[in-house]
Symmetry: C2
Subunit: 142 residues, 2 copies
DNA sequence: ATCTTATTGAAAATAGATTTCATTTGTGAG
DNA sequence: CTCACAAATGAAATCTATTTTCAATAAGAT
């Protein structure tokens, strides 16, 4: 089993959730897939590990994992909702998504911080959160 | 009638599409409305101008306008698909939304450009689009 | 005014996501 | 280890968003 999946399992337990077979399968599938997955695609892959798993469980588990910050929802043109594993990197990260193959590159937002800080000063808003998503085509797909 | 809507009409004609009543209504509603609208909300508003308009036409017109670059599809957390008018003489803008009262402040992304440019160089991606949304509390609501 | 054909609206079909509920299964207590 | 019970699951039903189909309508050229 993958390290990331094991860490997630511990976190689930810690938060008082049960570590069930379907959940373990979803975690492993997410942790081992390099790209971001739609619920449907995740379902297809998860079934290779556990034939009886239901699509409903995929949706429920994704919602839970999103709430716990283990996966991140990504919006892309085709097949609007996709989910990407939030890797072990601590701080806040943003995503660069390839429109064609779905590959995700993460990057830190250090440069954005100064932009937001200036914005805060100028508008008087107390900035609490932000969401940046960049879409393009990766080197291989160009 | 709004200037923006008139320009769009001309553009439609230019491209060989017919300027029909439903299309005119959608254009006017988009040009005069909020920053971005879901198809459903656009439908609700368009009906105030033309009672017989169908939701199907809203979808079809949005697809057409998007292809012609007059509106831009935006993905947001809740109610995934929204459409924003691409205004005249106004570059790309971002939104600063107040969590409490919903007030929207727009700001240009000049500072973001350099961030994205560096990102492009470093990753080899061809960056095509980005979406930044900032949430906070406005001066009045703090 | 007439003709041609793009466009429309209603209904049906499809796709995606959520709710319901009876059954199963983790997990902590004994 | 076994039991009991709440949490979690899966199948079916439901709901919501979007697309397709097709006969009727209306824009725009002549």
């Amino acid at each position: 089993m993958n390290t990331l999946a094991r860490v997630w399992e511990d976190q689930l337990k810690q938060e008082g959730y049960r570590v069930t077979k379907p959940r373990r399968v979803v975690l492993e599938t997410l942790a081992s897939g390099a790209v971001h997955l739609t619920p449907e695609e995740l379902y297809r892959r998860a079934r290779r590990r556990h034939r009886r798993i239901g699509l409903v469980t995929i949706y429920r588990t994704l919602t839970l994992l999103e709430r716990l910050g283990m996966v991140q929802r990504v919006h892309v043109e085709a097949g609007c909702h996709s989910f990407a594993a939030v890797r072990l990197n601590r701080g806040h990260h943003h995503q660069l998504v390839c429109r064609t193959c779905g590959r995700v590159e993460e990057f830190p937002d250090c440069a954005l911080d100064s932009v937001l800080h200036r914005l805060q000063t100028r508008t008087g808003f107390a900035i609490e959160a932000h969401h940046l998503e960049v879409v393009g085509r990766c080197p291989e797909c160009r």
